[in-house]
């Protein structure tokens, strides 16, 4: 074990880890992942390949249907040792006579790859795939990173807000006695709606009464309504009675098992597993929407913290965090999930029973959204400055 290693051996081990990490980054693999214990296989890559394979299967089927069975053999061949992207490319690279893959072949050839080397026997699939893999490896190193868009390019503003009171109907959320999360989030959500409408924003609610609305319906509603931002309101359960605090989430991966556990609870019945999300998001979710979601989360969190501390000085700032909640994954617009209080804490539960505290939270949430909207388009709203961050913080 490390405790028994002499310093120079320990350093050597650490350096080897650093080199491995760099190699993983170069090859677009998952860096910094925990090294599997000797003898254990890392199942993540085959799992990811399988997930991506399932997701892309319908498209692939259309493209290669005449040779589907044979192509699938190629796909399976790829699973154990190569990445999903390579597997997808391999479909095009190994179907020379297939008109359905002309564009893939063209793309490959454009990048210096041959779709199928002349004279290459189809039965020599192992060598062919290995050869193509080498060249795709070269190709992957020449791919340019996608350039991130600057939102200033577009005159983006916030006009329509989707407010999502968590839970409802059959899903009570967390509760203490007769105090249920679904009732608190709805009350606060309706207050937020009124406040935002006063500021000149259009507000759509995912629910306005105590009805059951499934997560996928909330997502579909938000996307169909073409909301500019999505605000999901929840109340936390943090275990021990002494623990309290507020936290705000935006979409991203997390390594915190506690957040994973809570996301898993919120995502119940979504049809995915957290392992799938983690793997998928690690690879694909780097885009402008996350930056905007983070900004929105920051504005809302600051406003909440400033306002709530006045009534609840002991409140803990649990921070702005990333987590793969389904409502954040599925929505198309900048989206956050605010845990506005911790109902497990006796004092916070008592406060949550009061109108004043709920009004404070609602005000803060609305202030945060307005502050974000103002950030995008200064002066665009009817009552901007008086309700934004500085005023809140000044009262600390």
């Amino acid at each position: 074990m490390s405790e028994n290693l002499p310093p120079h051996r320990l350093k050597k081990t650490l350096l080897e880890g650093a080199v491995t990490n760099n190699v993983q980054v170069i090859h677009r693999q998952f860096p910094n992942t925990k090294l599997a214990a000797p003898g254990k296989r890392d199942l993540r890559r085959p799992l990811l390949a399988l997930i991506v394979g399932v997701l892309f299967a319908p498209f692939v089927a259309v493209a290669v249907s005449p040779r589907l069975t044979e192509q699938y053999a190629t796909w399976i061949y790829w699973l154990p040792g190569t990445s999903a992207i390579k597997g997808t490319l391999a479909f095009g690279a190994t179907s020379p006579g297939d008109t359905g893959t002309v564009s893939s072949r063209g793309d490959l050839e454009q990048h210096g790859l041959q779709a199928n080397p002349p004279g290459q026997a189809r039965t020599d699939r192992g060598a062919l795939v290995a050869s193509t893999a080498d060249r795709i490896e070269d190709l992957s190193l020449r791919f340019e990173e996608p350039t991130r868009l600057d939102r200033k390019i577009f005159d983006l503003g916030v006009h329509r807000v989707i407010v999502d009171p968590g839970h409802g109907g059959a899903h009570s959320g967390t509760s203490v006695g007769n105090l249920a999360e679904k009732e608190i989030t709805l009350d606060i959500g309706l207050r937020v709606r009124d406040l935002l409408e006063e500021s000149g924003l259009e507000v759509f609610m995912t629910r306005v009464d105590d009805t059951t609305v499934e997560l996928d319906d909330r997502i579909a509603f938000a996307n169909d309504s073409r909301g500019d931002v999505f605000l999901s309101i929840h109340v936390n359960w943090l275990g021990a009675r002494t623990v309290r605090g507020i936290e705000t989430f935006y979409l991203g991966t997390t390594t915190d098992p506690e957040i994973s556990r809570r996301a898993s609870v919120e995502n119940r019945n979504s049809g995915y597993s957290l392992t799938d999300f983690r793997s998928l998001l690690d690879g694909i979710y780097v885009d402008l929407r996350r930056d905007e979601s983070r900004e929105l989360a920051t504005q809302v969190h600051r406003a909440m913290l400033g306002a709530i501390k006045q009534q609840n000085p002991k409140v803990r700032d649990r921070g702005v965090k990333q987590a793969p909640f389904v409502v954040l994954v599925g929505t198309d617009m900048p989206a956050i999930l605010a845990e506005v209080s911790a109902i497990n804490n006796r004092e916070e539960a008592a406060l949550l029973r009061t109108d004043a505290y709920r009004a404070t939270i609602a005000n803060a949430l609305a202030d945060g959204v307005v502050a974000y909207a103002e950030l995008l388009q200064p002066g665009s709203l009817s009552e901007p400055a008086a309700t934004t961050l500085p005023a809140q913080l000044n009262r600390l």
Partner: protein, 351 residues
Amino acid sequence: MSRAPLKVGIDLGTSRSSISTSEGKRHVVDSYVGWPVDLVARKVLQQDVLIGQQAIEKRTMLDLHRPLERGVIKEGSEKEVEAVRALLEHLLSSACKTEEGATIDPAHIHAVVGVPAEALRSSKQQLRKSMKGLVGSLMIVSEPFAVAYGLEALLHSLIIDAGAGTVDFCTMNGRYPTDDDQRTLSNAGDSVDDVLYSLVSERYPEAAFSRHMIKGWKEDFSFIGTPREPVSVEVPVRGKPTRIDITNEMKTACETLVDPLCDTMIELISRVEPEFQGLVRNNVILAGGTGLIRGLGGALERTLAELGGGRVRVIQDPVYVGADGGLAIAQDASASEWEQLGVPSSQRLNA
């Protein structure tokens, strides 16, 4: 004539960036890059690009960029990538010279660059692209790992690298840190600046001050807990230099860091194997410029006391601790452990 590789460690920070070389040279620069806004500015400044403090001072004539958001290349703009490259060129050309003052062939430079612990892969790739042509061999490591390596705190320690853009946490368990061992918080020095700016603006609406002034006040007077003396600063109010008291605002702004830092520290320590948690609690290292906020180390120790006690060592000279750690890694790495960036031997750094 062939020469031995020059090993360098680079700490790319949101606020400051530094370099240490195997020949004993060091250089630090504020992470600002500016280009003259027009021909007139170009003629006045007589330079194509200004870096660091010089850029801050001449900012009215410059298109000023602070490219290293959260310690990695801010994405979304080619200008930011260009700014990072200009910053790296400046660091390398300042520190990598022969005794005669000639620039060193980039092919002979082996660089270890520190980035935030949970930096996105795409950002690391951006950095890799920015380094091409500037150095021959490259290794990118997490900043707290570089700090731990430099301080030889490789086993049973917790590094808290509190910078301007991020606070990076990393427990060292005798292996290269994994996700489980690392955390990054965005509540860092810049967020203290934001809060302080808001609070002072609100209390003194007629006072004129800039974010650069706020940053300077924080560096001079930041504290957590009880102030040693009232904090007052001079600012123009309707053009007249006026002294204003910002003690409470400074305290409030700085203390926004305490809860998130303590929570994260406890969470990471609780993940360590139970028999080693005591060792880690007594080997907490607080590095980075934000780690110098007076009272922050004490606040962390008070939290550790609730867990049975512990010790926080504050690194009092944080400027080069990351770069020195990178250099230590560079000097220990064998030839086969480097990524070769393939610099043409004819290419030279801009002086």
